[in-house]
């Protein structure tokens, strides 16, 4: 494994670890808020980003958990971006294009799901 490859792997590792840790912190914080505020019955509902962020800012535990889950879902997306940028920087245009294609598909999913 050469230096560039090692550096790429380190960046991917960091991205995944930070995403997982941030998600875990928000999931735990959300659970704590749910219990301290005695939040009542929850109806599953369609996801709306602005409304969810606004509810999380008001300290609603369920919304904080939802943001945590969203960060968990965005972690693999961030990994695709990191790898794509890294390949672009080292001149591996073919694989940078492959990463861009995957990112496009993920963006389509995000738009279809939450748009």
């Amino acid at each position: 494994m050469n230096d560039a490859e090692s550096r790429t792997r380190r960046w991917v590792q960091r991205t995944l670890a930070v995403g997982l840790a941030a998600s875990a912190v928000l999931l735990i914080a959300g659970a704590v808020l749910v219990f301290t505020k005695h939040e009542g019955a929850q109806q599953a509902e369609r996801f709306k980003l602005v409304a969810t962020v606004s509810r999380a800012a008001r300290g609603e535990g369920t919304a904080v958990m939802t943001i945590g889950l969203l960060i968990l879902m965005l972690t693999p997306v961030a990994r695709v971006i990191v790898l794509g940028l890294d390949w672009l920087l080292v001149g591996e245009r073919l694989f940078a294009a492959v990463a861009a294609t995957v990112l496009t598909l993920l963006t389509i999913s995000v738009v279809l799901g939450t748009g």
């Binding site: 995403g19 968990l72 995000v110």
Partner: protein, 309 residues
């Protein structure tokens, strides 16, 4: 689906996560194949919510395992990213399809997919690893078919743009390989993606043998690369489930945290309790669960687990 997040309920859900994550790691199937039946049959959770919970759990466990595999250098990131074009496309199709077909149909498809999964588990040997595991051991899915053997160092010949080299601690030497039949690998990736998006499973049971046998990637690298891809594949459909309101935040959060913990516990326990008898016992159990799901769906009792149709 309405849920009042009480401490005992979330504790039970987290315990289910720990249990299914532990089982998944010990038995080499990933947690989803156990989590979904437990939620649907044991707690009468509608199928689409069980799938929504499972797909988030798949992302969490895959991410945790990938951190290790990337460090070891066994995951082939270039090949993984290339095949992710297929799995992501398939996952979007699967995720959209799951939104329009009835829960009974999903239960039937899930029940049918459990059968080959149980077969893989039955054929597994003690000490075998799995698709979703750190690639310290060869996964077992490919034992159903002859494996592509690791090639002795090809570094003098070059590994091509998609090939790679890694150090195999078991063999004590570097293994280099070229990737063959990429189009076939992409085709299987699309199908694995559809199943993942439709049923909320990782799909490693199908992907690992394909990458190994069709693309000629050594089994350890195939397992690590498959796991590397699972997070992105699952994310491609997870946004659709979240957007439709098929993710119950409190239930999912509790299960996700439990299943990640369980997968670490299972990886540790695997050395002590991963014997052939245990694997075969659960393979039979899985077939029993498959039959129960199929009968339930056939009788129309999966109505509570209906899709949006």
């Amino acid at each position: 689906m309405e849920l009042t997040p009480t401490l005992p309920l979330l504790a039970i859900l987290a315990a289910i996560g720990v249990g299914t994550g532990t089982l998944g790691a010990i038995l080499g199937t990933g947690g989803g194949v156990f989590l979904i039946p437990v939620l649907v049959l044991g707690f009468d959770v509608p199928m689409r919510f069980a799938i929504g919970t499972s797909i988030l759990s798949v992302i969490a466990t895959s991410t945790a395992v990938a951190i290790t595999n990337v460090e070891r250098g066994t995951a082939n990131m270039r090949l993984g990213m290339t095949l992710e074009i297929g799995t992501s496309l398939g996952a979007i199709v699967g995720g959209l399809t799951a939104g329009v077909i009835h829960g009974d149909i999903l239960e039937i498809i899930f029940g049918l997919v459990l059968v080959p999964t149980a077969l893989v588990m039955w054929r597994k040997r003690a000490g075998d690893g799995e698709a979703g595991e750190p690639a310290t051991n060869p996964p077992v899915a490919a034992r159903l078919l002859p494996q592509a053997e690791p090639t002795a160092s090809l570094s003098h010949l070059g590994v091509g743009r998609l090939g790679a080299t890694y150090f195999d601690t078991g063999l004590g030497r570097e293994i280099s390989y070229r990737v063959q039949r990429l189009w076939a690998g992409l085709g299987i990736s699309v199908m694995a993606g559809v199943l993942s998006g439709l049923l909320g499973i990782g799909g490693g049971v199908f992907k690992v043998p394909a990458i190994n046998l069709l693309c000629g990637v050594p089994i350890k690298a195939a397992a690590a690369t498959s796991n590397f891809m699972i997070g992105v594949t699952a994310a491609a459909s997870a946004f659709l489930y979240l957007g439709r309101g098929d993710v119950q935040p409190a239930m999912t959060a509790a299960v996700v945290m439990g299943i990640v913990l369980g997968s670490f516990v299972g990886s540790y326990l695997n050395r002590y309790v991963g014997g052939l008898f245990v694997k075969r016992l659960f393979a039979v159990l899985l077939v029993g669960v498959a039959v129960q799901l199929l009968v339930r769906a056939w009788m129309g009792h999966g109505g509570g687990g209906g899709g949006h149709a």
